[in-house]
C-alpha cells in the first residue's frame, strides 16, 4: 500500500473552512450570496409536514366501513377547518342522522375504503437551520443548501459523541497528560464562567469531571482520549459502531488521540491557548464509514476570510511529520526518515510496506505505513 496511511486529521491555526448547510426537504434560503452571517444566524428554512390525524370514521360512527363511504362529505386534497362535517349518515329512512366533524383543521390526505380511515394532515411547522459557523455565504443552492466559508482555526478530532454546539474556548489549565477531575472543573469554575464553554485540554476527563462540566453549562469537552468505561457511562450504552452525533448527552465530547489514556497533542494544546475566549463551533459527529466525517472544533478568525487553500493532503515522504496509530508505538509523533520500497517482515510475520521514523523521543522505529497518519499542519 504505497499510500496506505490514514489521511491526517487537521490541526491548523489558520485555514479556510467551508461548511454546507442543507435542508432535509425542499425549502427556502434566507441568505444571499456574499452575506456575512453569524454561527447562530438562520440561513435556511423549510416547512416540516404537520402531524397526520387518522380518523377512524366507521368505528367512531358505529358502522361497518362499507356503510360510511356514501356519507363522506370531504375529498382527498381538500382543505378543511375544525368542526367541518366529515361524514353524515342517515338511517331509518332518514329519521336519524349520524355525523362526524373534524376535530382539527388540515388537508385530507387519504381515505381508505377498506377500513374507512380518514387521514388529515395538520399544518406544517417551520424548520430553521442556522449557519453553524460565522462567515460569508459563498454558494446558494436555492431552497436546498448554502455554503459558508470562513477563515478559521480548525481542529479535527478522531472520535466524538454529541452533535453541533456553539461555545467559547476555555483552556483547561492542566498538563497535557493530566486526567481532569471534578476538582479541576470546580477550580476552573472559580476563575471563569463555564457556561457555554468549550473546555480543551488534558489526557482525558473522568466521568465525574464530564458531568461537572455539563452541570456548569459547558457546551463541549475536547481532550486527548476517553476510556471505554467512561464513554459508556457518559453515553448510557456501549458504542459498537463508529457512527455518532445523535447521542442524548449533556455536552459534546471530542477526543483527539484515541481510546485509552493519551495526552492531548501538543499542537492542539498550544493552539487552544491562542484561541482562549474565542467563539467556537463544535460538532462531535463521527462516521468512519462511507460519507465519513470526523468531529471538529472551528474557531473563525476575527480578521475575515482568506483565500481558500487546497485541501489536498501532502504526501508521505521523508521529512513528513507523522503520528503512529497502533501499538507498540501508539500515539508517538515523529519524522519520516526513510521509505523503503520493498515490503519488509514485521513482528507478526507479515511482509508489508514500512517506513523508518525518527520518533520525537529520539528512538528510530520501523512501522507499517498503514499504521501512521500524516500530521496536517
Amino acid at each position: 500500500m504505497a499510500r496506505a496511511y490514514t489521511p491526517g486529521l487537521e490541526v491548523k491555526a489558520r485555514t479556510t473552512v467551508q461548511r454546507r448547510r442543507e435542508l432535509p426537504l425542499p425549502g427556502k434560503s434566507l441568505v444571499g450570496l456574499g452575506d456575512l452571517v453569524q454561527a447562530s444566524t438562520p440561513v435556511l428554512s423549510a416547512e416540516l409536514p404537520g402531524d397526520l390525524d387518522i380518523i377512524r370514521v366507521a368505528e367512531r360512527l358505529g358502522f361497518e366501513p362499507a356503510d360510511v363511504i356514501d356519507g363522506m362529505r370531504v375529498q382527498v386534497g381538500e382543505q378543511i377547518s375544525s368542526g367541518q362535517l366529515l361524514c353524515e349518515l342517515k338511517t331509518f329512512f332518514g329519521l336519524f342522522t349520524s355525523s362526524l366533524e373534524a376535530p382539527r383543521g388540515g388537508v385530507v390526505e387519504f381515505f381508505t375504503e377498506a377500513n374507512a380511515h380518514l387521514g388529515i394532515r395538520q399544518p406544517s411547522t417551520p424548520l430553521e437551520i442556522d449557519a453553524y459557523i460565522s462567515g460569508k455565504i459563498v454558494e446558494v443552492e436555492e431552497g436546498k443548501s448554502v455554503l459558508i466559508e470562513t477563515s478559521a482555526s480548525l481542529i479535527q478530532g478522531i472520535f466524538g459523541v454529541g452533535g453541533e454546539r456553539l461555545g467559547i474556548v476555555q483552556c483547561m489549565d492542566v498538563e497535557r497528560d493530566h486526567i481532569v477531575t471534578s476538582a479541576d472543573i470546580a477550580r476552573a469554575q472559580s476563575h471563569a464562567d463555564l457556561s457555554k464553554a468549550v473546555l480543551i485540554g488534558g489526557s482525558r476527563f473522568e466521568y465525574d469531571a464530564l458531568m461537572a462540566a455539563a452541570e456548569a453549562g459547558a457546551s463541549a469537552v475536547v481532550t486527548g482520549s476517553v476510556d471505554a468505561g467512561t464513554l459508556r457511562s457518559f453515553v448510557g450504552h456501549d458504542i459498537g459502531v463508529s457512527i455518532t452525533g445523535d447521542e442524548d448527552v449533556p455536552l459534546t465530547l471530542i477526543i483527539t488521540e484515541g481510546f485509552g489514556k493519551l495526552p492531548i497533542a501538543a499542537r492542539i494544546d498550544e493552539l487552544s491557548k491562542d484561541l482562549q475566549g474565542r467563539s467556537a463551533s463544535v460538532n462531535g459527529a463521527t462516521q468512519v464509514r462511507a460519507g465519513a466525517m470526523r468531529p471538529e472544533i472551528i474557531v473563525p478568525n476575527e480578521e475575515g476570510a482568506q483565500q481558500a487553500k487546497s485541501d489536498k493532503p501532502a504526501g508521505l515522504e521523508p521529512g513528513a511529520r507523522i503520528r503512529v496509530i497502533r501499538v507498540p508505538y501508539f500515539g508517538k509523533l515523529g519524522t519520516v526518515a526513510e521509505l523503503p520500497t520493498a515490503p519488509e517482515a514485521i513482528d507478526t510475520g507479515a511482509k508489508v510496506r514500512v517506513l523508518r521514523v525518527t520518533l520525537d523521543d529520539g528512538q528510530t522505529a520501523t512501522v507499517p505505513r498503514a499504521n501512521v497518519e500524516l500530521i496536517q499542519e
Binding site: M1, A2, R3, A4, Y5, T6, P7, E22, L23, P24, L25, P26, P49, D51, L52, I54, E109, F110, T112, A114, N115, H117, G119, K144, I158, F159, D227, A228, G229, G240, V241, S242, G258, F259, G260, T286, V288, R289, A290, G291, A292, M293, R294, D311, K312, I325, R326, V327, P328, I346, D347, T348, G349, A350, V352, V367, P368, A370, N371, E373
Partner: protein
C-alpha cells in the same frame, strides 16, 4: 478497450479488476500467459470515502499506481483529466503497456439500515424481519401492532430513525385488511426521511396481504417510493421471503451503494456494471460448488460486515441451494467493537493465550474501529484481532444457519402447528457432516501472516464435523473473479483454481464429546494408523498438492461422520498449509473454565499448529 467497444473475451490479454471495499481498495491484474490465465500482480490503497478526499476513485487510482509500480506495466495515462478513463489501453496484443479491460466490484457505502413492520410480532413481523436480515440489513426496529407500544411511540420511533428502506408486511393473502393498512398509516404519520438525499423518496416495500396492495399504495404512494412485492407470508403456514429480499437488494444498490462518493465516475471507467462485492463473491462460490459437485460454506469477513455464503443440496430434491446472509455489524474494523459487544468480552478473551485487561482490550479494539486501515504490528495485537475474528465468524455463521432455510425461488413451508407456536424454526439447510469445503476470505483470513493460523481460526469458528477441507482465498480475489467471470468465465475459472484458492488442509472431527482420553477414531492413511482421543488436537503433515483416500473408523458407536452412527467412511483428504487436522477437542467445543488451564490449552494448540507466539 474503449468504453463503447463490444467485448470479445478472446481478445482479452490484460485485465485489471478492483474491489472497492469499505476499508481498502484492492486492484488485481489478470494476464493471459503461456500456461493460461493467471493472477499476476496486486496493489491496494485505502478506500477514499473520507474527507478531504471523499471520492472512491482516488483510492482506486492509488491502487492502480501501486499495481503499475509493482508490475512495471504502464497502465495509467500520464495526465488524466477529471472526467474519462484514466487507463492506457493496449492497441495490440503485443503491447507491453496498457490493459484491455477494467472491471470492478464495490461494497463502499456502508450498511443497509431498515425498519420492518408487520401485523403480529410472532407472525408477519417475524417473516419481514427474516427477509430483511436475509437481505443483509441492519433491522433498526421491528414494528407490530402487538409490540406493546402506543401508537404515538411507534410514530415517534420511526420518525427518528433514518432507514434506507422500510419493509411493510401484515396479513396473509385474503386475510386481515385493517392491520396492514393501519401500519401503512403509521408509516405515513411518522413520515421518516431517508438517510441519503433530500429529494430521494424513501422506498417502502409492501409485502403484506396482496388483496389490499392498491389501498396501501393509495396511502403511501404520495410520499414514498411504493414497491409492492409478493406477500412474505401468503398463507399462515407458508413463508415466501425471496421476492422481498430481491426487492431489498435491488433498492440497496440504487439507493444506498450508489451514494458512495465518486461512484458515478467509477461507473464510467468500466464497460460492464459494477457489481456489489457479495454478489460477485457468491457467483464464484456457486460456480465452484457446481463445477466440483461439492457442498460449500464460504465467508467473507470485511471491515464492516461478514457475509456468509453456502451451497448445500436440498434434502427434498437434491438440487443445489445457494444462500447468502450478511451480518451487518460484524466486521474487523468499523464494526470490531460491536463484535466485542455482541459476543461478550469473555467469548473473545477465551481465545487469547495471554492475559489482557478488559480495559486494554476494549480500548485497543475501539482504536482499531476509529483507525480502520491500521494493521497489527505485534504478535499479541495480531492474536487479539484473530480472537475477535473467531467470534465474528462464529456469530455470523449462527446467523446464517438461522436464515439459510429455503430453496431459492421456492417457498418455505412450515406446519400450521409451527406457525402458531413459532417453536419450530424452519430447518436449516446447513448440514455440517455433509459439508465438503470451507473457504475463508477477507483481510484477516486472506492476509494472515501465517496461513496455518487461518486454518486454526476456521476450525475454532466453524467446528466442522466429519471430513472437511479448508481453503482460503489467497489474496481476496473471489469478488474480482466473480465479476471477471461475467465476461470471461473460462479465465475466471482457471485463475480461481490456480491462484485464488489456497488449500489449508483437511479436518477430521467427530461430532460428540466423550470422557477425556477416550478413543474417538482411527484414521488409516498411507498405511499409517492415526489414533485420536478425546481432548486431543493433532496436525499431521500433509503438504499442498497431496491428495489421498483415507479410511476413518469411529471407535465409539455414537460417532456419526456422515454415514450414520458408528459407520466407517472413506474420504478424500487434501493436504495444505496446515496439513491433516484431527480435532478431538469435542463438539460443541468447550474451553477449560479455569483461566490458567484455558490459556495453557490455547497456547498448546498454537504450538500444535506450529504457530510461534
Amino acid at each position: 478497450m474503449a468504453k463503447d467497444a463490444s467485448i470479445d473475451p478472446d481478445k482479452l490479454g490484460v485485465v485489471v479488476a478492483t474491489d472497492c471495499g469499505s476499508t481498502t481498495t484492492k486492484a488485481i491484474m489478470f494476464e493471459k500467459t503461456a500456461e493460461g490465465w493467471r493472477s499476476t500482480f496486486r496493489g491496494e490503497a485505502p478506500t477514499t470515502v473520507e474527507k478531504p478526499v471523499a471520492d472512491v476513485t482516488i483510492g482506486a487510482q492509488n491502487a492502480f499506481l501501486e499495481l503499475q509500480e509493482i508490475s512495471g506495466r504502464r497502465i495509467l495515462q500520464e495526465q488524466s483529466g477529471e472526467e474519462g478513463s484514466p487507463f492506457v489501453y493496449r492497441q495490440s496484443s503485443n503491447d507491453s503497456d496498457g490493459i484491455d479491460l477494467y472491471v470492478s466490484t464495490s461494497s463502499a457505502g456502508g450498511g443497509l439500515q431498515m425498519v420492518v413492520a408487520g401485523a403480529v410480532s410472532s407472525m408477519t413481523t417475524e417473516s419481514a424481519e427474516r427477509a430483511a436480515l436475509g437481505a443483509g440489513a441492519i433491522v433498526m426496529d421491528a414494528i407490530s401492532i402487538d409490540d406493546g407500544r402506543e401508537q404515538y411511540e411507534r410514530v415517534s420511533k420511526i420518525r427518528h430513525l433514518r432507514p434506507d428502506i422500510i419493509l411493510l408486511s401484515g396479513g396473509v393473502d385474503g386475510g386481515n385488511v385493517s392491520l396492514p393498512l393501519e401500519l401503512a398509516e403509521t408509516i405515513l404519520q411518522a413520515d421518516p426521511r431517508p438517510r441519503f438525499g433530500e429529494t430521494l423518496r424513501l422506498p417502502v416495500i409492501y409485502a403484506g396481504n396482496s388483496e389490499i396492495k392498491d389501498q396501501a399504495a393509495e396511502i403511501l404512494d404520495s410520499r414514498f417510493e411504493f414497491v409492492p412485492v409478493i406477500n412474505v407470508r401468503p398463507e399462515l403456514e407458508r413463508e415466501n421471503l425471496a421476492p422481498a429480499r430481491d426487492a431489498i437488494h435491488e433498492l440497496f444498490l440504487h439507493h444506498v451503494m450508489s451514494h458512495a462518493p465518486g461512484y458515478k465516475k467509477l461507473l464510467d471507467w468500466t464497460p460492464i456494471a459494477i457489481e456489489p462485492t457479495p454478489a460477485a463473491f457468491g457467483y464464484m462460490v456457486e460456480t465452484a460448488a457446481e463445477k466440483e459437485n461439492i457442498q460449500i460454506v464460504a465467508v467473507d469477513i470485511g471491515g464492516a460486515t461478514t457475509d456468509v455464503f453456502s451451497v448445500f443440496r436440498s434434502p427434498t430434491d437434491g438440487e443445489n441451494v445457494f444462500n447468502r446472509t450478511v451480518s451487518a455489524n460484524l466486521g474487523m474494523s468499523y464494526s470490531v467493537a460491536n463484535v466485542l459487544l455482541e459476543a461478550g468480552e469473555e467469548a473473545v478473551r477465551r481465545w487469547l493465550p495471554f492475559e489482557v485487561s478488559a480495559d486494554e482490550m476494549r480500548d485497543r479494539l475501539r482504536n482499531k474501529m476509529i483507525r480502520p486501515t491500521s494493521i497489527p504490528q505485534t504478535l499479541n495485537d495480531l492474536i487479539l484481532e484473530q480472537a475477535v475474528c473467531r467470534e465474528a465468524l462464529r456469530l455470523a455463521f449462527m446467523h446464517h444457519k438461522r436464515l439459510a432455510v429455503g430453496l431459492r425461488g421456492a417457498q418455505q413451508r412450515r406446519t400450521i402447528a409451527e406457525a402458531f407456536t413459532q417453536s419450530g424454526q424452519a430447518q436449516s439447510l446447513i448440514d455440517m457432516r455433509a459439508l465438503n469445503l470451507i473457504i475463508g476470505s477477507g483481510g484477516v483470513l486472506s492476509h494472515a501472516p501465517d496461513r496455518r493460523s487461518t486454518a486454526f481460526m476456521l476450525l475454532d469458528s466453524y467446528e466442522p464435523l466429519g471430513v472437511t477441507r479448508l481453503a482460503v482465498d489467497s489474496i481476496f480475489m473471489m469478488p474480482h473473479l466473480g465479476v471477471l467471470s461475467r465476461i470471461h468465465p473460462e479465465a475466471a475459472n482457471q485463475i480461481f483454481f490456480r491462484d485464488c484458492l489456497i488449500d489449508l488442509g483437511t479436518v477430521i472431527a467427530p461430532d460428540i464429546s466423550l470422557k477425556a482420553g477416550a478413543k474417538l477414531l482411527e484414521v488409516r492413511l498411507k498405511g499409517e494408523k492415526l489414533l485420536l482421543r478425546q481432548g486431543e488436537l493433532k496436525v499431521h503433515p500433509l503438504a499442498e498438492g497431496e491428495v489421498y483416500e483415507a479410511e476413518v473408523v469411529p471407535l465409539n458407536g455414537r460417532i456419526d461422520l456422515g454415514a450414520g452412527r458408528g459407520e466407517t467412511i472413506t474420504a478424500q483428504v487434501v493436504g495444505g498449509k496446515a496439513g491433516l487436522i484431527l480435532d478431538g477437542r469435542g463438539r460443541p467445543l468447550e474451553l477449560p473454565a479455569d483461566e490458567a488451564q484455558r490459556a495453557a490449552a490455547v497456547r498448546s494448540w498454537y504450538e500444535i499448529f506450529g504457530i510461534g507466539i
